[in-house]
Subunit: 255 residues, 2 copies
Amino acid sequence: MKPLILVSNDDGIDAKGVHELVRSLQHLGEVVCVCPEQPQSGMSMALTVNDMLRVKRVEDYHGAAMYKVSGTPVDCVKMAVDNLLPRKPDVVVSGINHGSNAAINVVYSGTMGAAFEGSAYGIPSIGFSLTSHSEDADFSPCLPVIDRLVKMVLEKGLPEGVCLNVNMPAQVKEYKGIRVVRGCRGRWDDRYDEYRDPARRPFYWLAGTFINTEPDNQDTDEWCLEHGIVSVVPVKLDPTYEKIDEVKELLGIYG
Amino acid sequence: MKPLILVSNDDGIDAKGVHELVRSLQHLGEVVCVCPEQPQSGMSMALTVNDMLRVKRVEDYHGAAMYKVSGTPVDCVKMAVDNLLPRKPDVVVSGINHGSNAAINVVYSGTMGAAFEGSAYGIPSIGFSLTSHSEDADFSPCLPVIDRLVKMVLEKGLPEGVCLNVNMPAQVKEYKGIRVVRGCRGRWDDRYDEYRDPARRPFYWLAGTFINTEPDNQDTDEWCLEHGIVSVVPVKLDPTYEKIDEVKELLGIYG
């Protein structure tokens, strides 16, 4: 039986990135694509609990069944696995995101939300992102990387509860390599720009820049991306901090 | 100077849980409360990037300045720290959530989204949840626990990038203790119930039950809650899986 490949994303069913992904995966198995109807950037692992969802099948693309869901990336994966697919998929592939999900962006990313949700079902899952927000970005250098990693994950699986956050530098014709690294430390130095609507009421828009607090550390995804290298960061769903005893001592709670 | 305490939640500015929290914290410092205008359950770390935000100050409550934001819990924390507060708060306290955020729920929780966001700013942060979805739940047994933990965290801080996920059992007059444990393994066995609207078009609603895959393990939050004990799970923002070398070997990537 051919592998069953579930594709999702957070840029929505109309994004170029997910079409490139579907097309590039078709020779690896049966591809079913379930994406948000609307762009869902920054939706993290949000799921719809207090509202209903609509699902609509749209036109097939390169042999893949295509569905749109009126919810988040997590909703799409749940709807696919619980309701649309004939069996549990062999891999969940999310992306290709238009924009970086390196460093702390991983926690806000809807692309990675779909991958984390795949791992919650025990399905090996990968999120792919290109560091360009252009709607018409050139994804062609990404395709050999995707082919290699999806094949490898289909063959070897991933540790339980762990998925991959893969970021690929834009404006690079041929990547200088691919490395397994950790997420870079850093933070968003953000602010809210203030505007006035025609009735003079204020409204706000989030703006800011990422501050890399360890720019010279070669073991991070940001370093790879700045040097034309694809970064693969294994990330896990369970956020429990391992040093439980340290926290017991700190809080003076030994119960 | 009195400690500056930022309060947020995901049930929205009108929820009983956040009012109880604000009232119980007032003797510990200056409290400012910034909450979503609308309920935001299940919003995880979603943040608003493709839309504007509105902010409105509403009536003070027990001496605390109260604001509502037209976004998610993460938006509220960002707006507070970047735009509303006179200085970086000494602690972020989120909740009291109406409903459990134990086990895997931590990753979907908007309450914990606010706490994680606090830790992204380097602020010691705590999310509190009561295992009852009742709008009029009795939060009084929670208050001594909150007092003790917030005081302790104000005094001792928390490890960098680590916040606390505190769950308190409902329908318990007096807790049998408080324990620092890890998040329980398990998964949602979920399904989509199908309905038909008056025009006979289908729509779907997420339903399901949590399956605890280690019910006898006493080191988990679920075990504590089932035994009348408050659970404190330290959780960290950075999801990087520590065993990078294991993944390098698995994928055959040694670059």
